[in-house]
Amino acid sequence: MSSEKQLLEELTTEEYKYGFTTNIEMDIAPKGLTEDTIRFISAKKNEPEWLLEWRLKAYRYFITMPIPTWQNFKHPDVDFQDMSYYAAPKEKPKYDSLDEVDPELLETFKKLGIPLDEQKILSGVVAVDAVFDSVSVKTTFQKKLKEQGVIFSSFGEAVQNHPELVKKYLGTVVPSTDNIYAALNAAVFSDGSFVYIPKGVRCPMELSTYFRINAENTGQFERTLIIADDRSYVSYLEGCTAPMRDENQMHAAVVELIAMEDAEIKYSTVQNWYPGDKDGNGGIFNFVTKRGICKGDRSKISWTQVETGSAITWKYPGVILKGDSSVGEFYSVALTRNHQVADTGTKMMHIGKNTRSRIISKGISAGVSHNSYRGLVKISKGADGARNYTQCDSMLIGDKCGAHTFPYIESKNESAMLEHEATTSKIGEDQVFYLNQRGIDSEQAVGLIVNGYAKEVLNQLPMEFAVEAQKLLAISLEGSVG
């Protein structure tokens, strides 16, 4: 028992690897949120009039909205006036070549394992858009992608270079009135990534955005918009880290995916924001709205997420299955420890005929954390032959944590078939014992069991990320014996 306790102790004191800060001169907007703040951001980004109007409309809506109360955790007191909504490294407005990027910044991303130097990356594996606080620092492989007609750029650039596309699709999947944080994001979003895959193109490499919060007292509000035109394919990854700080920082992003006929979007997230210390001080509030729409027939959207960071993770990546025979998938591993909270899940809205969705959610809670799965599967009247399979499993490590499931299943169609399964258990003592017998110590055994438990989800990740995610799980779980 004593070694078990000791190991649990270790688990709860495990340090956060990415907690360093970068000393770089920053351009930070004064604290507070007013219409002027929004005009300031819009002017900084040199935005057209319609976008400013759109932001202001969202802001006016935002100030009328109350903080929701339905979630399964106490909403922290957030003072929207006590943070800064824009922070950017003070430098030239645009980096044309890598030489112009502040070496300090390059060093930061290198430390995070995200090389921005194309030559140094093995030929064309992943194209990266690196977002540092409020702005995109560098997008790699843009030229190579352009040859195929693929647009991959920061959101700010897209507004300048492809305003017609942005205007057409912005806010069509997640309207600015969707929820309070979507409204806030619409009002103050600073940057993010924009992807357009033209008809019939299979994106030649993985696209990726790496988010880094650095500045103090700021919130990060980025927006990602991915459009996959007819018969195209894209796989997109995002990763994120932040320095260790005592105060909480807000991250309220919006992601919109649009898949046209026969298109496929695969969106993967490895979320490792700073989770706060072992007493629950500090950490990121990760309040994100992610939604995709399968607009065309036979289109497919797949969400994969590995959530190990953030003080509070609150998001429900969803898919609107509008096109006939479209497919939505959601694979999630959420690991919480110490005082972390995760309230996550998905929404699958079946509208088209013969639509299919599949949900695999694995929650692991340790310490005094709480992990909730909240999902909605809705079959509307016209969704003949819709099919859903949901599996949400929870694993508990330690006797002070909680695992909760809140599945909503609504069907208005007689030909729909839905299945939902959920289990909750602790790590099997006999499984640990079996591995012990074969000379594997308890710590490794737990890592093995958890990785096996999460495998169904990890398998969905692109190779490089799967390795990273596996390591992340192992590190986060070090020393946890059930």
């Binding site: 499931t405 609504e410 289990t423």
Partner: protein
């Protein structure tokens, strides 16, 4: 149509709280507290999470007269007969215990009385409004504050009831009526009983809406088999709240069956397992037709270690009916070594039927085994074809398949006669096109 100008049900109810109902101050204070709570919250709206799928407003926004005690009026309760069951029959007309229509129980150790008479009894004082009122349900507060009729049953320590007690709730009204019933069932240590409650409507009755609260105490090592048979007609609407408190080594089994008829039924069944080593089973069969809306909300609350619960609800929906299932399993921090199982299966037999289901687990202890499952589907065409190819007519094949679907639940009915009765009602309730 003549439009009557009358005050809302809420106004009427709030206005009707006046006279002290009980002689004892302690009971009065519980009433008053509940009344204040109800006055503050009012009736729930669809915005409340617990009422998200069940809009009760159309049921409430009707002109009701309050209560309807019909002493001495003859009523026909044949609709509630269960073939082959030899039981003590207790009749409640619009919630009022009717001594003249009920059997007297001569067995030693069984106390049966009306709500009014029970107020003198010690067990009543001890348990009345001590459990259900904590469930944050405004209808319970309303009931505690204003209900003045219902039944009280106590099975005394060590008593094993020889015959089941069959309680018949019949709704009879000349004009639209709202009535409230308050029941208390107490099983003392080592007692055992079977209680069957049937809900029926008298032919030609006007619309009624009944708000019933039943508190059940199952003491140490006691066993209760509890059957609900909802067979009322479309004029009748119900909001039934059952709160069960179990003590160690006790067993409580609930069989909740709803058949075509009653246009609105909301059942809230909360099982609180406030001691170690408790076992509970909740089974449900819901077969609906026409425009019925039936909502089953259950809570299994594991508060102490070594509890075991098993829940299985099956819904079969025809026509434009809607079913709601919300099963919550709580495993509290203390409740290690809990074993909880929950399953909800649904069969949609019509294009206009709707099912909303929310099987929910909230777990705060780590050494537990909990699982839930939920499916929504329809007739298996292959199975039907298989049966037809063997010379079984379509109609019969459908009946067989529905029986097969319900079998997982019906086979668990302890009382075989009731099982046959339920099978029969399923057959009657199935529509054939």
């Amino acid at each position: 149509m003549i439009t009557q100008v009358s005050s809302s049900l809420y106004q009427q109810l709030v206005g009707s709280f006046e006279d002290p109902l009980f002689a004892k101050e302690i009971l009065e204070s519980r009433r008053k507290e509940a009344f204040e709570k109800f006055k503050d919250t009012g009736f729930p709206t669809a915005k409340a999470e617990e009422w998200r799928f069940t809009n009760i407003q159309p049921v409430l926004n009707q002109d009701y007269q309050l209560g309807a005690h019909l002493p001495g009026q003859a009523v026909n309760v044949d609709a509630a007969n269960i073939e082959g069951v030899d039981a003590y029959r207790v009749v409640l007309v619009n919630g009022f215990y009717r001594h003249d229509l009920s059997d007297t129980i001569e067995e030693q150790g069984i106390v049966l009385s009306s709500f009014a008479d029970a107020a003198q009894l010690e067990a009543f004082n001890k348990h009345f409004a001590q459990y259900a009122d904590k469930a944050e349900n405004p209808f319970v507060w309303l009931n505690t504050a204003l209900a003045n009729n219902g039944f009280f049953i106590e099975i005394q320590a060590g008593k094993i009831a020889q015959k089941p007690i069959h309680i018949v709730h019949i709704s009879v009204a000349d004009s639209q009526t709202f009535f409230q019933t308050r029941n208390l069932i107490v099983l003392d240590k080592n007692a055992e009983a079977q209680i069957i409650e049937t809900f029926v409507t008298e032919d030609g009755s006007s619309k009624t809406f009944g708000n019933t609260v039943t508190e059940i105490v199952v003491d140490e090592n006691a066993k209760l088999e509890h059957y609900y048979l909802q067979q009322a007609r479309s004029q009748s609407s119900f909001n039934n709240h059952t709160e069960i408190i179990q003590r160690k080594y006790s067993l409580y089994n609930n069989y909740n069956c709803t058949f075509p008829g009653a246009s609105f039924v909301r059942n809230t069944i909360n099982v609180r397992m406030d001691d170690p080593n408790i076992e509970s089973h909740l089974y449900g069969i819901t077969l609906l037709s026409d425009n019925q809306l039936v909502d089953n909300h259950t809570v299994v609350d594991h508060m102490k270690p070594f509890g075991e619960s098993y829940e299985w609800y099956k819904n079969i929906l025809q026509d434009s009916s809607t079913a709601v299932f919300n099963g919550k399993i709580f495993v509290r921090l203390d409740a290690q070594k809990t074993n909880a199982f929950q399953q909800n299966n649904n069969m949609l037999l019509s294009a206009n039927a709707t099912i909303n289901t929310k099987p929910q687990l909230e777990i705060f202890a780590d050494d537990v085994k909990c699982s839930h499952g939920c499916t929504i589907g329809q007739f298996n065409e292959d199975a039907k074809f298989y049966l037809q190819s063997r010379g079984i007519g379509e109609e019969q094949a459908r009946t067989l398949l529905v029986h097969a679907f319900a079998f997982d639940v019906t086979e668990r009915f302890k009382n075989e006669t009731i099982r046959n009765h339920v099978d029969h009602l399923v057959e009657l309730g199935l529509k054939h096109n």
